[in-house]
């Protein structure tokens, strides 16, 4: 399993190439691409409509969650506005037995993996430290320390290889994370062990206020080949290109080809989180340029050109996204505050005398307030 000599197989690396992959232009024109078209040949009008629906719904979820934060119902929210295609296009290609390890902005990925709308809320409302059981949806609780999860994905992938299954692990991270040692170590481990992992980097141009130029002087996708990992650089606002690239990477991983790196070039249209003030560092002209490359508008234009963006479809999407927003809000407001003594739960999987002692003492303390007249 361990590669004992440096690989001489540069061919595949070059085959995947570093040409910018775009199958759908911002104005909705389908661009022919002999390398990637066959990979998404099955994506017809109906499939495009489903992807469109997903993107509109996660954007609506994002808007509603931001509103909930502004109304004091959430402590914090990290908007994904602008990154819908990168998240939906990649996550919708995965199987249920694949496993994703993400950062905190991947609420669109969680949606695709099957997290309920209510399950998106507890972490941000502060009622629990995880919204879901990772094994239920094949997605780890988001990692907040930047880049740490890329190693987790690599280890999980290594485990898949040892188990002899063709499941794949996907690491989601951002441009800022590529400066972290962990991300670079993950690429070393993945390459050396030929682990079936996909490094999916959403280059949204910003790490809070720091532009990508502070992290990388060359396109991020160029780094991976140096680790022996083929990479692709795709239009992250093009759901078809993202899907195609992810499928290529998945096929490589499932067939024993090892890791692949995808740089999805996108843009964070909102703040880093609801606590951020991008007006201090974002150039409005640059922002406007990216607004013209919106991931949803281009699919809408394509659907329109195909004659399937009917009033009926538009109304049904509107109704579904409104229902999602309503469900999210109700789910959020319905979350019960945790019981005080649950602060001691699950510190360890096995019995621990210290935690039990402190719990018992704190229970006694709390009891002094109980039963007051």
């Amino acid at each position: 399993m361990l590669r004992t000599t440096a690989s001489e197989e540069h061919l595949e690396t070059e085959l995947l190439g570093l040409d910018f992959v775009q199958l759908l232009t911002p104005d909705g024109t389908r661009v022919m691409n002999p390398r990637f078209d066959p990979v998404v040949a099955d994506i017809g009008a109906e499939e495009l409509k489903a992807l469109y629906e997903d993107m509109v719904i996660v954007r609506r979820i994002d808007t509603e969650a931001t509103a909930l934060q502004r109304q004091g119902q959430l402590g914090l929210w990290p908007p994904l506005l602008g990154q819908e295609a990168a998240q939906i296009g990649s996550a919708r290609t995965l199987r249920s037995d694949d496993f994703v390890f993400t950062s905190y902005r991947e609420n669109g990925v969680a949606y695709c993996r099957g997290a309920s709308l209510t399950e998106l809320m507890p972490v941000w409302r502060g009622t629990a430290s995880s919204g879901w059981n990772p094994y239920d949806i094949g997605m780890a609780t988001p990692a907040v320390i930047i880049g740490a999860q890329t190693l987790h994905a690599t280890g999980y992938a290594l485990g898949c290889a040892i188990d002899g299954v063709d499941s794949v692990a996907v690491a989601y991270f951002g441009d800022g994370a590529t400066s972290q040692g962990d991300v670079n170590e993950a690429m070393v481990f993945a390459a050396s062990f030929n682990a079936p992992v996909i490094f999916f980097c959403q280059n949204n141009q910003w790490a809070i206020s720091e532009p990508v130029g502070l992290q990388a002087q060359r396109p991020i996708a160029e780094r991976a080949p140096g680790f022996g990992i083929p990479s692709m650089r795709v239009d992250g606002n093009d759901v078809l290109a993202v899907m195609a690239a992810t499928r290529v990477a998945l096929e490589r991983a499932r067939s024993g080809g090892g890791p692949t790196f995808i740089e999805a070039v996108t843009y964070r249209m909102g703040p880093h989180t609801t606590s951020d003030d991008p007006s201090r560092y974002v150039d409005p002209d640059v922002q406007a340029g990216w607004a013209a490359k919106d991931p949803i508008a281009r699919v809408e234009a394509l659907l329109d050109s195909l004659g399937v963006f009917t009033d009926e479809f538009r109304a049904s999407i509107q109704a579904k996204s409104d229902a999602a927003a309503k469900e999210l809000r109700a789910g959020c407001l319905g979350l019960p505050d945790p019981e005080p003594l649950t602060v001691f739960d699950n510190v360890f999987a096995t019995r621990n005398s210290w935690v039990e002692r402190q719990k018992s003492q704190y229970a006694a303390y709390l009891a002094t307030f109980g039963g007051a007249e």
Partner: protein
């Protein structure tokens, strides 16, 4: 010859502490196909201390993996393997090399069970040869256990003899929680009798052991200094002082009940470790025992530890490390006998 035959009859063998861990790892690999070993130079070389000698040969490079030279990478990869149901045993080559992995240990491994509300277990064992006394260069003689004992979600243990080394490494691997397993590297070549038997009568991983009963002073130690503490107890006996020596074994959680029971009997407490004094295991024991049995103490607890300085160059380590004489000096202090601090600072 006769002794060896007796040992074999009892199913035990005489071996070094290093070999005892090796045989424990071997048993763990045999007993559970989900156990795998990762570390730097642990494969063909068998580890720089030979603790994993022969294991890759016998279990293959999928079970015993040489890892790239990146400690965070080793522990972070172990997290992913644990997510998939494996029980990784990771070797950190030397104590001072663990810091690049600090985030993965304290922010990920320690917290994942809590973060996921019990859904994801992290049965990861982190083996760390630790401590000084071998004349090494910088970063090869440290005792970083307190950092980890301070972090909720981690178990921290240390063995002091071959039998415990064998039993405790298997218990650590079988434990569903992450365990930092500190191996006293200057005792790797200490020999002792080792039985592979683990049963209901086996002392559990979180329990301390009274290794020598006594009535005048409780001397608490762990890892490499248990042997030194035993030497001190023998020497004190000549002076008519009866020392009860406790081998903590577990540093998180600490078995305070055993220490407390001893102090209620002796009324005097000395704690020793190689790690620096400030914020160390000794500070926690002194505070907790004072809280638990203040009325039984006849003297303030005394600590004999490494100084609050970086681990020094090899030619100075004899002045840094607690030794028999410094232990006896502290015993004199809690016995209100003349000692090095008598009249000091006046």
């Amino acid at each position: 010859m006769t002794e060896q035959r007796t040992n074999e009859a009892r199913g035990s063998q005489t071996m070094t502490l290093s070999k005892a861990i090796n045989s424990g790892l071997r048993r763990a690999l045999e007993d559970d196909p989900k156990v795998l070993l990762m570390g730097e130079d642990i494969g063909t070389l068998g580890g720089v201390f030979r603790v994993t000698d022969g294991l890759q040969r016998d279990f293959g490079d999928r079970r015993v993996m040489d890892a790239p030279l990146a400690e965070s990478g080793i522990l972070g990869t172990a997290v992913g393997l644990a997510f998939r149901g494996f029980r990784p045993v990771c070797e950190i080559q030397f104590d001072g090399f663990i810091y690049p992995a600090f985030n993965q240990i304290v922010a990920q491994i320690a917290k994942l069970h809590y973060r996921t509300q019990g859904a994801v277990k992290m049965p990861i064992t982190i083996r760390v040869p630790f401590g000084g006394g071998i004349g090494a260069v910088e970063h090869h003689s440290e005792s970083p256990e307190a950092y980890f004992a301070h972090t909720a979600g981690l178990r921290v243990v240390s063995c002091s003899n071959p039998q415990d080394a064998h039993t405790m490494i298997r218990q650590a691997i079988a434990c569903d929680d992450p365990v930092l397993f500190f191996e006293p590297k200057r005792r790797y070549w200490t020999k002792g009798e080792v039985s592979e038997h683990i049963g209901p009568d086996t002392l559990s991983l979180e329990k301390a052991r009274v290794v020598k009963p006594g009535t005048d002073v409780t001397l608490v130690s762990y890892g490499p200094l248990v042997m030194t503490a035993m030497d001190a107890a023998l020497a004190a006996q000549d002076d008519g002082v009866s020392i009860e020596v406790i081998d903590l074994r577990s540093l998180a959680p600490i078995d305070f009940e055993t220490v407390e029971a001893s102090v209620r009997k002796t009324g005097r407490l000395v704690i020793t470790h190689e790690a620096a004094q400030f914020g160390g295991i000794g500070a926690e024991i002194a505070a907790s025992i004072t809280e638990r049995c203040f009325d039984y103490l006849q003297a303030a607890p005394a600590r004999v530890t490494g100084f609050d300085v970086p681990y020094p160059a090899a030619k100075l380590e004899e002045h840094f490390l607690p030794n028999l004489d410094r232990l006896l000096d502290a015993v004199d202090r809690v016995m209100y006998k003349r000692n090095s601090l008598t009249g000091w600072g006046k």
